[in-house]
Symmetry: C2
Subunit: 201 residues, 2 copies
């Protein structure tokens, strides 16, 4: 029986350790890159080595950045009394695209997840507490994903921030029916959230 | 508004040109490689440049290979009178894993697809016709995927092979209900195929 050459299998194994890529897709990608997509493979190889040397995380907020402090932390026109906490930079860019928020951010680069061996010291929490202690922060908005890990990370952060300074306002994003969606397909929990948090019309 | 740094966007754009990777997943992968997965990014960069220099396609059958002729074409114990034609090497490896076939292969590295600008001369067809003309081939098994492009490529190959030598047996894989599946979920076409090709029990 002839099988996939070792070099292609190695590439496939590396690709399958990326989030969202299973073994079937990684085999297909590895073969594509090795046979039909050699120029793409070359570009990818270059771009990856460039990324490794150029991209850092902002030493204040943890956002991806080409410099030691990111554009948002440098921007003096932003409201410096509010910090919005997100799991990763993609969430930050998505909130920025909405233009609804003009304060600062803090990027945890992960969430607390005992099942994956991620504890509070493994993510960007101590620098958040340092900012709250040293800067003039009035409100912290916890904008983690509404799932078990996001919710327990939010609870942990709430405790820590209250211990540090009980006068800081801690908020979290409203839960409810997403705009443009269909009630028919909303989960029971979404219905519960939206009814509980109903507002005067 | 702050947006994704150019370097990460470049990586994301490259990744989204891979088959099976959409813009949302490519953004996530690019950010992951830039922030959490730097050592993975380094490994990927090395492995990709290695693949580019090492992996070739077999000059006889078009299979991926580290040498100019692949292990299967070199294997003198195999039945050299039968050629099984597949779209790509992954299909070949899947058939090899089943241990049902001991003949030779021919890998087209694509299918005829006018909508994607792929004509007969863009895939590995002329070398197949050359093998049929020059070698002692008795049967060609067309094992392309059962979809519009696979079926029309099979029809094209059938015509070409019959023109070349009307005595060659041309077969294609049986269509029907896949083992382990559920009739309830079979498509109408699968039901039609399996009833039409029913066999004495």
């Amino acid at each position: 029986m002839s099988s996939i050459p070792k070099e292609i299998q190695d590439l496939s194994d590396l690709l399958s350790s990326l989030p969202g890529i299973g073994p079937k897709l990684s085999n297909r990608l590895a073969l594509y890159l090795a046979v039909n997509g050699k120029s793409l493979a070359l570009n990818l190889s270059h771009t990856l080595s460039e990324i490794i040397s150029k991209v850092k995380t902002c030493e204040i907020c943890g956002n991806v950045s080409l410099e030691s402090v990111c554009d948002i932390c440098k921007d003096t026109s932003r409201d410096r009394s509010t910090i919005l906490v997100v799991e990763d930079s993609l969430d930050l860019f998505n909130i920025e695209a909405s233009n609804i928020y003009r304060g600062l951010y803090h990027v945890l680069n992960g969430v607390i997840s005992p099942i994956n061996g991620v504890g509070p010291s493994d993510i960007n929490i101590s620098s958040l507490l340092k900012r709250i202690k040293e800067d003039e922060v009035k409100e912290v908005i916890l904008a983690l994903n509404p799932n078990v890990e996001g919710d327990s990370t939010s609870l942990y952060l709430k405790d820590q921030i209250e211990n540090l300074d009980p006068n800081i306002t801690i908020t979290k994003l409203a839960k409810g029916i997403p705009a443009g969606s269909d009630l028919e397909f909303a989960s029971t929990q979404t219905i519960v959230d939206s009814v509980k948090s109903r507002k005067q019309f």
